[in-house]
C-alpha cells in the first residue's frame, strides 16, 4: 500500500512514531473529499487514522471550512450544489445555491460570502451562505477553477483554465479590475499571509507564477526539474504557503511529488515523493503537518513540515481531490 522505497521506510516509521509522541496534544480534524467515492474521509491528525467516512453528494471536489470551524463546505459538482456539513455530527445540514457544476471555491476571511467557480458556465457565483442567496454572478474566462480571496478580503482571484488568466475581482463591487495572462491551464491561486504575493499554478504550462497583486505583474515564474521525470508529467496544481512567507509547497500532479520552494528566493529546495497524481494540499494550523491528496493511489500523504519528510500514507476513498484541516 505504500510507494516509499523499503530502505527508507524504517527511518520514516521511526520518525512518525517520534512525531506522534511529540504532537499528541494538538489534534486537528482533516477532511478529504473523494471525487469518485462520493464521500468525505475524516482523519484525526494526532493518530493519522481515518476516523470515519461520510457519504456526500456526487463528485465532491472543492472543500473548505468556516473560520469558526462550525461548518464544512463541499462542492458536490454533479449535484450542482454546495453542501454544508456539521463537523460534529458529520450530517449534511443544508444545500446551497452554488450555480451549475461548482468545482472549487473560496470563503471570505469573515466567513461570508462564498465565492464559487462554476466550471461549465464561465462564471463566479457570489453566495451569501447565511441567507443562501446569490449576491452576484461574475462572468470570467472559460472553465474557472482556482479561487482565492486576499487576506484583507478586498480582492478575489479566479483562474480560468482554458482562457489561461487570473482574473482580479474587487469584492466590494464584484467587478473585474484586471486580468493577468499566465501559462496553460491555471488550476489554483493562493495569497501569501501578508497579501503581498499571489501564487498561481499552471498545470499544463508546468509553472507557478508569483504575482504582485498591487501592480498585477508577474514577478517570477517558477520552473520544476526532477531528474528522471519527464517535463510533461510535472503538472503543478495545489499551492500552500507558510504564514511567515518563507516557504511554499507545490503539488506536482503525475510527477508524484510535492516541491518545497523557498518563498523568498523562489528556489526549489527539495522534492518530496508522495502518492500518485497529487493535487491539493492543506497545512495544519500549527504548520507541523501537510496533507496531500493523491487521486490515483487513493491515499493521503502526510508530510512532517519541520523535517520535510513524508511520514505516512493514509488510505482514503476513491480519487481523493480536496483537503481541509479544522482551525482548532
Amino acid at each position: 500500500m505504500t510507494y516509499l522505497r523499503p530502505r527508507r521506510l524504517a527511518g520514516l516509521l521511526a520518525g512518525a512514531a517520534a512525531l506522534l509522541a511529540a504532537d499528541a496534544a494538538s489534534a486537528y480534524t482533516v477532511y478529504v473529499s473523494n471525487e469518485k467515492g462520493n464521500s468525505i474521509s475524516v482523519i484525526d491528525s494526532a493518530t493519522l487514522e481515518v476516523k470515519q467516512t461520510v457519504k456526500v453528494g456526487r463528485r465532491p471536489r472543492g472543500i473548505t471550512m468556516s473560520p469558526d470551524g462550525k461548518a464544512v463546505y463541499v462542492c458536490a459538482s454533479d449535484d450542482h450544489a454546495v453542501q454544508v456539513i456539521d463537523p460534529t455530527t458529520l450530517k449534511v445540514l443544508r444545500k446551497l445555491k452554488s450555480g451549475p457544476d461548482p468545482e472549487l471555491f473560496a470563503l471570505h476571511p469573515t466567513g461570508n460570502p462564498l465565492y464559487i467557480a462554476n466550471e461549465d458556465d464561465n462564471q463566479v457565483t457570489v453566495l451569501d451562505v447565511e441567507a443562501n442567496k446569490v449576491i452576484a454572478q461574475v462572468p470570467v474566462g472559460t472553465e474557472p477553477e482556482g479561487m482565492a480571496v486576499s487576506p484583507d478580503g478586498g480582492t478575489l482571484v479566479a483562474t480560468s483554465e482554458t482562457t489561461n488568466m487570473a482574473h482580479f475581482i474587487e469584492t466590494r463591487t464584484n467587478k473585474i479590475i484586471g486580468n493577468v495572462l499566465v501559462d496553460a491551464r491555471p488550476r489554483f491561486a493562493e495569497f501569501s499571509a501578508d497579501g503581498k504575493r499571489l501564487w498561481v499554478s499552471a498545470e499544463v504550462g508546468g509553472t507557478v507564477a508569483v504575482i504582485d497583486p498591487q501592480t498585477r505583474q508577474i514577478i517570477r515564474k517558477i520552473d520544476f526539474k526532477i531528474p528522471g521525470v519527464s517535463r510533461e508529467s510535472i503538472q503543478p496544481v495545489g499551492v500552500r504557503l507558510t504564514r511567515d512567507g518563507k516557504r511554499a509547497f507545490v503539488a506536482l500532479g503525475p510527477a508524484n511529488r510535492v516541491a518545497v520552494v523557498n518563498a523568498e528566493t523562489f528556489e526549489v529546495e527539495k522534492y518530496l515523493l508522495v502518492g500518485q497524481r497529487v493535487w491539493q494540499l492543506a497545512l495544519t494550523p500549527d504548520e507541523k503537518l501537510l496533507f496531500t491528496t493523491n487521486g490515483n493511489s487513493n491515499d493521503v500523504s502526510v508530510i512532517d513540515v519541520p523535517e520535510l519528510k513524508v511520514v505516512k500514507s493514509i488510505k482514503v476513498g476513491s480519487a481523493p481531490w480536496g483537503v481541509v484541516v479544522s482551525p482548532q
Binding site: 474566462g141 482554458t162 489561461n164 482574473h167 473585474i176
Partner: protein, 419 residues
C-alpha cells in the same frame, strides 16, 4: 456552396472593465502595444477601442446522406461543431484581451472546387483557413492561396506525404498522420507483447497507405507481420449482403498463427464485419475494433469531461475526432492571437512554430508543433467502441526530446523541406 458565419459580439462593458496587464516575457514591442488597453477603464471611458477581429475560415465538404440503417452516420456538422465551440472559447478570452473572433464555414457540394472556396475567403480577408478535406484537395487549397499570405490548418487529411515530400510552410497539421496512428497502436500492441500481426488490407488507395504505415510501425517497434492479405470479399459492412461470401471470408482467416488481426479499412467497408466472424478467436484492431484516435466519447480524464459536456450542450451530440481536431485548430489560432495580440496570419504562424507555443488540449500534457514538418505532436487515445483502453505514447517508449515524438516521423527521418 453553403456558407455560415458565426460572429460572437461581446458586451462592451465587460471589455472596458477588463484591462489586461502587460505580460513579462513577451517581446518588448508586444508588451508595449497594449499600453492603452491596460489603462484603467474608468479613467478613459470613451477609449472603447474597436476589438481586433480575428477571422477564421473553415472549408469542409457536405456528407452524402447516409443510408437509413447507418448506425453511426457521420453528422452533417462534423468538424464545424468543433470549430464553433472553439470560437466561443476564444471569444470568452477575447472579452478580456480586446479581441473578437469570427468563423465563416464553407460547406462544398459534391462538384464544387475547394480552390474557389479558398480564394473567395481570402478575397474577403479571411486568411486563417481550417481545412477538413482529403489530402489532394488540401493541396489544391494550399496552391490556390499560396500568394495570399494564408495559413492553413489541416484537420482532415492523415496522409504522410503531406508531412513529407508534399509539405508546405503555410500548412499546419492538426490531424495526426497515419504514421502517428499506427505507431500509437503498435506501441500498445508491443506493450502487451502481442507481437504477431495478421494484416488485412482493403481495396482503396487509403487502405494501402494505412497498411504501409502499419508495416513501418511494426518494423520500428519490433513486431512481426505473420500474414498480409488483401480483402477481396467486397464492402460487406456497407452492403449488408454477406450471405454469399460468408463462408469464404471465414475460411480466409483460418490457420494463421497471429495474436491480433489488424484491418486497414478507412472507408469502414468491411472492418466491422471481421470481429467474431473469424475461425480462431482473434482480437481485431486497426481502423476498426481497437483504434487509435485523437478523441473519443468515453474520454474523461484531464478535465476533458468539461470539454465533452460543453460540446454536448452546444452541438447536441458527442464529440468526434474531426470535431476535436477542428476545435484544436481554432484554439491554436486563439492562443496565438492572445499571446501575440495580433490578427495577422504570418505573426500567428510564426508564434505557433516557436517553442513558446503550447496548448492545453485535454490530453494531460501540452500539445505543440514539430518544427520540421509542422505536425501537431499529441497523445493519441487507444480505444474500443465504448471505452478508452490506453493512451499513447505508452510508458517506456522514450525519446530524447519528448515521448510524444515516438509517434510519427521524427526529425532525422523527415523528408519535409518546408517552403
Amino acid at each position: 456552396m453553403l456558407t455560415r458565419v458565426v460572429r460572437l459580439l461581446l458586451p462592451a462593458a465587460l471589455l472596458a472593465a477588463a484591462p489586461l496587464c502587460p505580460i513579462p516575457g513577451l517581446r518588448p514591442a508586444q508588451a508595449q502595444q497594449p499600453a492603452d488597453a491596460a489603462a484603467p477603464a474608468e479613467a478613459n471611458p470613451t477609449a472603447e477601442a474597436k476589438p481586433l477581429e480575428i477571422r477564421i475560415g473553415l472549408i469542409t465538404r457536405a456528407v452524402p446522406p447516409p443510408p437509413l440503417y447507418d448506425l453511426l452516420a457521420v453528422p452533417e456538422d462534423e468538424a464545424v461543431a468543433g470549430a464553433e465551440l472553439a470560437l466561443k472559447d476564444n471569444s470568452t478570452t477575447g472579452r478580456f484581451t480586446g479581441q473578437s473572433f469570427a468563423l465563416e464555414t464553407t460547406t462544398l457540394a459534391e462538384d464544387e472546387d475547394p480552390a474557389d472556396a479558398a480564394r473567395a475567403l481570402a478575397a474577403k480577408g479571411t486568411r486563417l483557413l481550417i481545412v477538413n478535406l482529403p489530402g489532394a484537395e488540401l493541396l489544391k487549397v494550399a496552391d490556390a492561396v499560396k500568394d495570399k499570405g494564408a495559413v492553413i490548418f489541416n484537420v482532415g487529411a492523415p496522409d504522410d506525404a503531406l508531412r513529407a515530400q508534399d509539405c508546405r510552410a503555410d500548412v499546419f497539421h492538426v490531424a495526426p498522420s497515419r504514421a502517428m496512428l499506427t505507431d500509437a497502436l503498435v506501441q500498445f500492441l508491443a506493450s502487451k507483447r502481442w507481437s504477431k500481426l495478421f494484416l488485412i488490407t482493403g481495396p482503396q488507395p487509403a487502405d494501402a497507405l494505412y497498411a504501409e504505415a502499419l508495416r513501418r510501425s511494426a518494423k520500428k517497434f519490433g513486431l512481426k507481420i505473420v500474414a498480409d492479405k488483401p480483402w477481396t470479399f467486397g464492402p460487406l459492412g456497407r452492403e449488408r449482403s454477406d450471405s454469399i461470401t460468408r463462408s469464404d471470408a471465414l475460411v480466409f482467416s483460418r490457420g494463421v498463427d497471429a495474436d491480433v488481426i489488424v484491418v486497414a479499412d478507412e472507408a469502414n467497408d468491411f472492418g466491422n464485419y471481421i470481429p467474431f466472424r473469424t475461425f480462431e478467436p482473434r482480437l481485431v484492431t486497426g481502423t476498426q475494433g481497437l483504434t487509435a484516435s485523437t478523441w473519443h466519447p468515453a474520454q474523461d480524464a484531464w478535465g476533458s469531461a468539461q470539454l465533452q459536456s460543453r460540446f454536448l450542450r452546444s452541438a447536441s451530440r458527442t464529440m468526434r475526432p474531426a470535431d476535436y481536431q477542428a476545435w484544436v485548430a481554432a484554439r491554436m489560432i486563439g492562443e496565438a492571437a492572445t499571446r501575440t495580440r495580433s490578427a495577422d496570419p504570418a505573426t500567428l504562424a510564426a508564434f505557433l512554430r516557436t517553442p513558446d507555443f503550447s496548448l492545453a488540449a485535454f490530453k494531460g500534457v501540452p500539445v505543440s508543433i514539430r518544427p520540421w514538418d509542422q505536425q501537431l505532436r499529441q497523445p493519441l487515445l487507444i480505444a474500443q467502441p465504448l471505452g478508452i483502453v490506453s493512451v499513447a505514447p505508452e510508458e517506456g517508449f522514450l525519446h530524447q526530446r519528448t515521448p510524444l515524438d515516438t509517434l510519427g516521423t521524427d526529425q532525422g527521418e523527415s523528408r519535409c523541406r518546408l517552403k
